[in-house]
Symmetry: D4
Subunit: 225 residues, 8 copies
């Protein structure tokens, strides 16, 4: 009944910040998610859905579900009028999305899918944690060739520190909730990144691949301006 | 005796990352700080000293003290061979250093002094916290004209969220330890920034104006490349 | 067997504090909840049930269940002898219940339903978080016209700070558990509100829409006395 | 040199919220505090100084110091053009400032001094903690006669819960940092108040007598409107 | 295979401390619990089972299950050779088990069942939280007549403080995990009790009704010696 | 001026709980402490002062200072009309005050001095931590002969667990703030004691020797009744 | 599709550190686990799987499942080409795996299974917690005869401290998540071990039996070199 | 008076564990430290003093002070009958003490001085943090040649993880309290080490160079046995 009053999308965000609004779906009822899609459609807009749990996705009315390009691993969905890939993809790779371990792939994919939604094709480099240093060193030239680096790691999160000491590009750390015990759901990875001695490393919330991608997009637009 | 063995400066950092090494002085003995200056001089180098407490500075041998361009509020020092301002200053302002309150000025100055050490002249905008929103709105066009924004705030740290929703440039949040009780030495400001709904806001450690400046420099070099 | 001994309702609370007792159902067995309803009925009383989980509600004997006006989103129930709306509703709106995002609606509804139980018709204003500032500014005159404001927000919880700086009425902040990672189940929102620079903002427990409504009722009774 | 740029007072706050700006002095340099007084004087204004440490006060230039009505216990100062009591005092007492123990008096005094700055004469009731329940019961009628109650307590902070169950007026809890060990600088008192079963109790930051007074003023203005 | 090696019961505990061993079942496999019962039977002993979840109980082989006197609310079981009540019950009540709310009954019952296992018949007094003070005052003489008082409360846990100020007997506080948000699973109740100004109040772990009963038994044996 | 209003001693506590009031001096001004002594003298009473820092003691007016039997290590003082030892001392030792290390002696002395104030002569046994187990085993018979045991330990606080498994008497654990790093000011010792597998061990706040002594007195009075 | 790119095993680890790689399976998709086995098989290698939940194991394709020697209690699996026990077992026992309680057996088994994977046959000694000290003292000579001791305990974790004071061999503490309330998922056990007064006790993450076994293997190889 | 009763040294420790007792001086009165020296002298023993603050050392009676070989940076002292170096020094270096930064030298020196007290001459390698990776790689062969490695780091503490992946010897991590903000006095370094993916890394308390040295000594004795 009052459903439409519970939602007031920020359609002006694109004009102000250069990024369409995205919707964080965790904690929203399915009815609220559907109402959001209805409003986007009414504006002939497009929207990125994040943290859309498979159970939420499955509970969406089929008509909406069919029109969402959904990826279960990253829990992201693309919704737009005519095509699943809302923005044309750039020809060259400008962002490296580097993940320390296979368990960090879900977060890395959220970052990569967010970049793709806005037209960037990232280079995804996975399982290069520093406990086996040669794996990172083997890929470091590829990483160095990118404009921006997103470094994703859980547990002790040493990866961004080591990369940050090896390259000069902007580097954004994303701690993940991978681990147990003192990993504390990613708090230790987060604090280790923030306390890093690598100068100029900045950090997002735990598991926030979406936020890191947005930060990269802000930088790319500046650099390409 | 073993003093020189306790110090191994990373003179190659500039080549790798584009930033000369800086030295974090908190927790170092005065003898260690002096040994560092001695090694820099031997290499005819230059170095930025951060967290150099006035008591540490006062205890340095006079010969060294006289050659450091020291600022007590930000606890930073410039050391170089021939001049106090080690790098020539850029003609145009490209970075806004925005602080929520007068109590945040020490951290803002650390960021500004770091930028100046590497040749950038930032625009410093202070006391524009969002509890008196008109103050920020009055300055928002000036902020929007910059390439990078460093937003510094303590307590509830709402400033970067509001700015992040108003501009499209890269924005780096620096939480400060200003406040008492639940402010918890800056932990609340830090977490509030990390949990912000402003997409693409990245964050540094508490009071880390130096780190934010380095992140801004990484972005500027990319953008000016 | 000893069920009736496990419950001693505070029927005198209304006389002392002007508010009938309400019952917090989380952690109570269904048998205990039913016993409470039995005692209320025996006194021909009325009672507000909060945190009554849909599973608890579904497990209540049908006779009781049919007589509870239940709302699943807010997990609240009204129980009274003859009618579902225990108190007559006021003609004018005196309280604004303002929520930062759609995910905060469950808590907002708990506040609104509590107010309605005691006869107040609140104005519900949703999805006006400060990352899209225009949405709040568009509604600020409506908010300013109210006697009391309840401001509900999760994540960085900047909303009450900004509102508190724009109006002179009493303002009660309710942090929500919306968010992930450093949001820490609402702890960050709570601390950000408590550390706010907006003078005179007071705060309730996380997700405690019921408590905020009670605080508003205490103020309204004073103001209407 | 840039001192005046570091301060931008919110002189419009009174018009928006009905409260002149106050200045939180902890963490500010003495030069910044003096600059603030200079700006207030230039506007022929008045200002409340909070958390002005005796050492800061003693370091102020004598000319300024002589014109501040300073109270060392509460660390508050009144600054205005012609008189120490900036607002005329109300004839009747409308607010009770109730403190659990003698150690809580500094915080109670901050609340009382803030109320007096804005013209309210509070009733101060001290050392009525609930471990000796008769002391509170002896004063409860006096407390019940007030429009608003500020309840101040450290350690286990049971006082506001007990008062909240005995009266119907708005009640604002202020946790204090009194105690040791698990008292954790007031965190336990804060959380105990927030978790209280007394419905409608709202809470401020630890030791924030100033904030509680502002909340009381917001309520009084409404009630006297 | 190695099951019997994983268990080494402390059959000598009774001789050393006057209390038979009890077994904490949470985290044990059903096979381990069954092995423990087998060893107890082999010694013709008796044992108290605590934290035996209904699911664990249901999964026990029927032969064992039939011989355990199980109470689901408190998750306790009595196992002995010939009778369900292993020790004869005392004629007089010496211990009051006082619980603040109906939600605290599960913990109160664990304490009461432990006392009964060792032969004590406690007085159970429930729902006397201090937000409705008259309920406690109505029962205070009964409480005062007991040799030992166990006071059980969650949330802000003010009950033991108030009781402790009214009686001279030994008083043991048991914090419960009842509550949400800042209640933090009982941490706030625990700390509030430990920080209490009631002199001589001692405390157990959260929800540890068993431990409080054991402490009471130690005192009773001393007092009856 | 209002000094006498800031203090309302609980002279009735003795009648209610069997223990004279004691005054916790930390956080009180010297003027407040002196006012308390004045009120006690006016009633011809006696009082135990705890946490009276040597600096506070030294700042007391000499007349008062001369009449306080002060012990700097435990920071306790006895104040009474005619004699320093306010209660006659018992002939036999009934309480063991057992401390794990020499660093715990200050807390042990607070317990011992509190017991002595109320007439008990405790057995003090020090430096028997379980990392050198023979030291404890050498004294265990002496400990076992006591009616009540107070076990004091910092760091990992294993002492009370081991004692609790060896004796049947009531045992009260007092964690101390001795240690560094993860000792976290006594939090680890506190939690280790609360999580102990020794059944019936109860615990006080960190460094709270006074509270443990009061708990022991409550038990002794019961046992001697 | 990109599955093989998400995995980059560190096959060179054995050469560098003397230990084959092991794979931590928690948080990995079943598809990723299967891909890892595929790569190991392609190299004719062997691998230890840890934290492989029974649900993950059950979801593996049958062909892979049949070739894993899986133990559900410890959640470990052995995978190798021709045999389930990848390394030949040593004839003599050199490591004691000592667990405080039956609830700690899952972690002890993870340590034991890791040792066995690399060829060591440990002595497993269980249920010797120090609340019943005789049980440990009965086994202490056996423990003293080992080259390395792994001591596993939850709750207050006093076991490693007591053992560490009785023997001279290297001792590695493993805290477990056994317990409730202040046990805080093993944090208290962890901190108690780290704060232990037993000199030379080192510690692993909570529940990290695998890590302790690896540390023991590093020591054994040194000692047998 | 009772000073000698407050101290019971564990002279038998050497026989049990192969290590003479050492005394942790923080929190001890100077009188207690002197009493300890008196007892050691009476037994013609030797003792290592740790955490002996320069102020404590300066306050010792001169006779004792002259006989302590004191190092202010590490706050350690050697006390023995006839010579300052109580044990003869080994000819070969078997332990590497590796520190990430110059600020970590105080902790590294505590480890080195402890090793030297018991006769080991460690290799001290400093300022090889991984943000400048070449510094570590330059020294890795030297590190690999040692029997045991102690790796000391603060902030994000990535050093032990990287070393642990490069060598096969036992490695002991020591987190330091170097850093600010989220470094949280070494808690982040500690947790990062415990959560490390380097298998077999074990860890000591924050700043516990003494404990790491003792662990290394336990291993060396085994390896040299």
């Amino acid at each position: 009944m009052t459903l439409h009053k519970d939602v007031m999308l920020d359609f002006a965000r694109d004009a102000r910040t250069g990024l369409d609004e995205a919707v964080f779906c965790a904690g929203k009822t399915v009815a609220h998610v559907a109402e959001i899609l209805r409003q986007v459609e009414a504006r002939a807009g497009r929207i990125l859905l994040t943290r859309l749990h498979p159970d939420q996705f499955a509970a969406l009315p089929e008509a909406w579900r069919n029109r969402v390009d959904y990826d279960a691993l990253s829990q992201t969905g693309y919704f737009s009028q005519s095509q699943s890939q809302p923005h044309p993809q750039s020809a060259t790779k400008q962002v490296a999305v580097v993940a320390a371990g296979t368990s960090d792939v879900a977060v890395a994919r959220e970052a990569a899918r967010t970049l793709a939604f806005y037209g960037e094709s990232p280079a995804e480099i996975t399982d290069v944690g520093v406990a086996g240093l040669w794996r990172l060193l083997e890929r470091i030239e590829e990483i160095r060739s990118m404009k921006v680096v997103i470094a994703i790691a859980g547990m002790d999160a040493a990866l961004p520190t080591v990369i940050g000491g090896l390259i000069g590009a902007p580097i954004i750390g994303v701690p993940t909730s991978v681990g147990y015990g003192v990993a504390e759901g990613g708090q230790t990875a987060l604090k280790a990144m923030l306390a890093s001695c690598s100068p100029g490393l900045t950090v997002t919330n735990i598991d926030n691949g979406y936020g890191a991608a947005c930060a990269a997009l802000r930088i790319l637009r500046l650099s390409n301006a």
